[in-house]
Symmetry: C2
Subunit: 202 residues, 2 copies
């Protein structure tokens, strides 16, 4: 990878992290594009060369994480399907997988509350769901490769992918809803197991 692409990736990440941090700290509508650009050290105009909206910049963190599920899935072709899926998902939601030094947070509780407010923002929810849908397509493709089915014609890989992202979304929502918060890993394990086994009344 040349210097050029590295710089682009850096800017991409810097912008999305800045967008998330400022939004969690201040709230969505108290952050202007200008602020995000400044925090990332680029001009306001450049922001829109990378993201087509403020919401997209924020949701990019989610997109990135979810895309790695598909990636992880492709890296373990041997195992039984649901075993591989569960493992791939959990790996992305391991406690330290994401936040390595990046949200320079003074108070963890305050940060959590900020996140809760952030994901409640209507404009954001749409964008996060859209990111999930994009990842879902990748997961479906990965599943199709693995099971040797045709994603153009078979419903199965799409159903699996949809169920996986549904489990992820549901687990996150439940995690943010509960107080004290139930760990996401526990919820994910539970959700995926139930989906794989069928959702008959328990």
């Amino acid at each position: 990878m040349g210097l050029r692409e590295r710089k682009k990736a850096q800017t991409h990440a810097a912008l999305s992290w800045a967008a998330v941090r400022l939004t969690v700290e201040r709230g969505f509508d108290k952050v202007k594009v200008e602020d995000i650009a400044e925090a990332a050290g680029v001009s306001p105009r450049t922001f829109n060369n990378y993201f087509s909206s403020k919401a997209e910049a924020i949701a990019f963190r989610h997109l990135d994480r979810c895309l790695r599920i598909a990636e992880a899935l492709r890296e373990r072709p041997g195992e039984p399907l649901w075993e591989a899926i569960t493992d791939s998902v959990l790996r992305q939601f391991a406690p330290d997988a994401e936040a390595v030094a990046h949200p320079p947070v003074a108070d963890a509780a305050q940060w959590a509350e900020g996140v809760r407010v952030m994901v409640a923002e209507p404009a954001l929810r749409g964008e996060m769901l859209r990111a999930g849908a994009t990842a879902e397509a990748e997961i479906a493709a990965a599943v199709a490769e693995r099971t040797g089915s045709d994603p153009q014609q078979d419903l199965y890989p799409h159903l699996v992918a949809s169920a996986v992202m549904g489990a992820v979304n549901t687990a996150i929502a439940h995690h943010l809803r509960t107080d004290p918060a139930v760990p996401v890993s526990r919820l994910l394990t539970d959700a995926l197991a139930r989906i794989a086994a069928g959702l008959a009344t328990p």
Copy 2:
């Protein structure tokens, strides 16, 4: 219901139908809110008293449909869960359930193509998914009532709701992807059955 509420409901419907029709005909970014307002016979400012964005007005048709799933579910408390779910969903996607006289369409194929373009619009996809999520919450509540579980604490009703909306979204996507188009009802029946039974490799 007084005259007041009836008029509101009418305006609501008129605006969303106009938004959909114009968007399908011309494409999302060639329709201004002014056009939609005019087509519905209200002032541009009034549009934003009903919908907080152009996208939301369009997605409202989807929201309306999906909310009726929860409603239908509540109207049949006796039956086994998945039987009731399947029936409630299929009822909303019956061929003539929605379009009674409303999309005054000259050419059906052209309309279908317009819809395909419309749902590909990024801004729209986010809003449709958000509508789905709103409906999902209602469905979860309905399932919780039925199974007597606490939606604050139990994951199950949310998982079921998520799976149902996942099936709906997947079926619609597949319907729009295939050519010749596979009927939605067939896809929905298939998807729901598989989810209820578990998604083991077939």
